[in-house]
């Protein structure tokens, strides 16, 4: 029983519900408990690279810090004792509590998101949406086309760089390349649109009608999915209980 095997649609719904619930909790303890609880669950029921996890976490630590000080400096006028003064704004106990809540909320959102992102294979997610959530195959297969498009776009981008260099654009350093990107956007998009048309025609030529079809990959719904979901919901229940108490 791992989060990797969990049905992606159920995982998606569970994680989204928890995040929504968190948004209505105005105490610092709930997000804190969710943060550590999710880490524990992730440790037990998954096999993710913690190095990757850490890298993904860094930008959100920054956001959490930004949220912390914004809420302190631009906080709403609140009752309670003034703890300290920041840039001429009196910070009360209530302000501190809010600031802690909001920045911990950012962190709790992030661990939940990472629990989903790091254990979910995009392809399985799309198949699962098609099989369990009745997503239109038209959209699902277009998303697959979109995915196949990344390498094509990369090749087209390289070709555009080469043609532009041939025509005398100076592209010596990496910075030159980055700076030149805005000029490539239109030709890149125009090329992509033409490709899209060709791909659509060849899909139709091979008999794609957009109706539901059988697939090799069947994503099941098992008892374990509900067990894992209820673990997450229990965690949230406990965190709310601790927070409100």
């Amino acid at each position: 029983m791992t989060f990797h095997e969990m049905n992606p649609t159920i995982k998606f719904l569970t994680v989204t519900c928890l995040m929504f619930g968190l948004a209505f909790m105005y105490n610092p303890w709930t997000p804190l408990v969710v943060f550590f609880g999710t880490l524990v669950l992730q440790f037990i029921f998954s096999d993710v690279s913690w190095k990757r996890w850490g890298l993904f976490m860094i930008p959100f630590l920054l956001t959490a810090l930004g949220t912390l000080w914004t809420t302190l400096v631009f906080g709403r006028e609140a009752s309670g004792q003034v703890v300290f003064s920041l840039f001429g704004n009196d910070v009360t106990e209530e302000n501190v509590l809010w600031a802690a809540t909001l920045s911990l909320r950012v962190l709790a959102f992030t661990v939940l998101s990472l629990l989903f992102t790091l254990t979910t294979d995009p392809k399985r997610f799309v198949y699962s949406l098609m099989q369990q959530a009745r997503l239109s195959p038209n959209i699902a297969y277009s998303v697959f086309v979109g995915f196949r498009f990344f390498p094509i776009l990369k090749i087209e981008l390289m070709q555009l760089y080469e043609t532009h260099a041939l025509r005398g654009v100076r592209l010596d350093t990496r910075i030159d390349h980055v700076r030149h990107i805005p000029k490539l956007l239109i030709p890149l998009l125009a090329g992509a649109i033409r490709q899209a048309e060709r791909i659509a025609f060849s899909m139709e030529a091979r008999g794609f009608t957009g109706e539901h079809r059988s697939t090799y990959e069947v994503i099941p719904v098992t008892r374990n999915d509900f067990l894992l979901a209820s673990l997450l919901f229990t965690l949230f229940g406990v965190s709310v209980w601790i927070g409100v108490r």
Binding site: A99, S113, T117, S142, A190
Partner: protein
């Protein structure tokens, strides 16, 4: 909703979503760098970027659902290629897409003038701000600061997404790649 769509329109929608998902993700990182320094307001003035695919797709395909679907797809693809905002971003996409879609629905999907595109940018700003207000707990901030955030986001939506989207689409139109889509047909019909 998709019954009246041709497959090539759906694939186009998907590919525009892919391209802009990459752009969106790049700007999430730009925003994040700033946000550590100046707080959540860092995102506001560039927020219009995250509405642009709605406007471009609706302008090109001109069918109900184009603005909504493209935004949701872009958000989903953004999540799959590694945005740590995770599943929540799909929700964001749905909400932003609905805001933009509302503007086109109001005109009965008949008009695609600049003001409609700007209205769509504004609509996306309104719905997405409501979401930020709840999820980001903005009620803890002073009302003046919240008003400033909203004003920045609305302006950004109208300028970057509305006007920017129109400029980009018209540049694309000039390349001739959009032959066979509603935007070219309708333009020819009106002379």
């Amino acid at each position: 909703m998709l019954n009246s769509w041709k497959l090539k329109e759906i694939v186009l929608l998907s590919i525009l979503s892919v391209v802009f998902a990459v752009v969106y993700l790049a700007f999430v990182h730009v925003g994040n760098l700033w946000a550590g320094l100046i707080g959540p307001i860092a995102y506001e003035w560039i927020f219009g970027i995250w509405f642009i695919v709605s406007i471009i797709t609706a302008y090109i395909i001109r069918k109900p659902g184009a603005a909504f679907l493209s935004e949701v797809l872009a958000a989903s693809i953004e999540m799959m290629i590694g945005n740590a905002i995770g599943p929540r971003i799909i929700l964001v996409g749905i909400i932003q897409g609905l805001g933009a879609e509302a503007a086109f629905a109001l005109t009965g999907y008949k008009r695609y003038d600049l003001w409609v595109l700007m209205l769509a940018g504004f609509g996306a700003a309104v719905t997405s701000f409501a979401y930020t207000y709840v999820m980001g707990g903005l009620s803890a901030l002073s009302p003046t600061y919240v008003a400033l955030m909203f004003a920045l986001r609305a302006t950004s939506g109208m300028l970057i997404a509305g006007i920017g989207g129109k400029i980009l689409s018209d540049l694309l139109l000039r390349t001739g790649a959009l032959e066979g889509y509603a935007v070219t047909r309708q333009r020819k019909a009106h002379g």
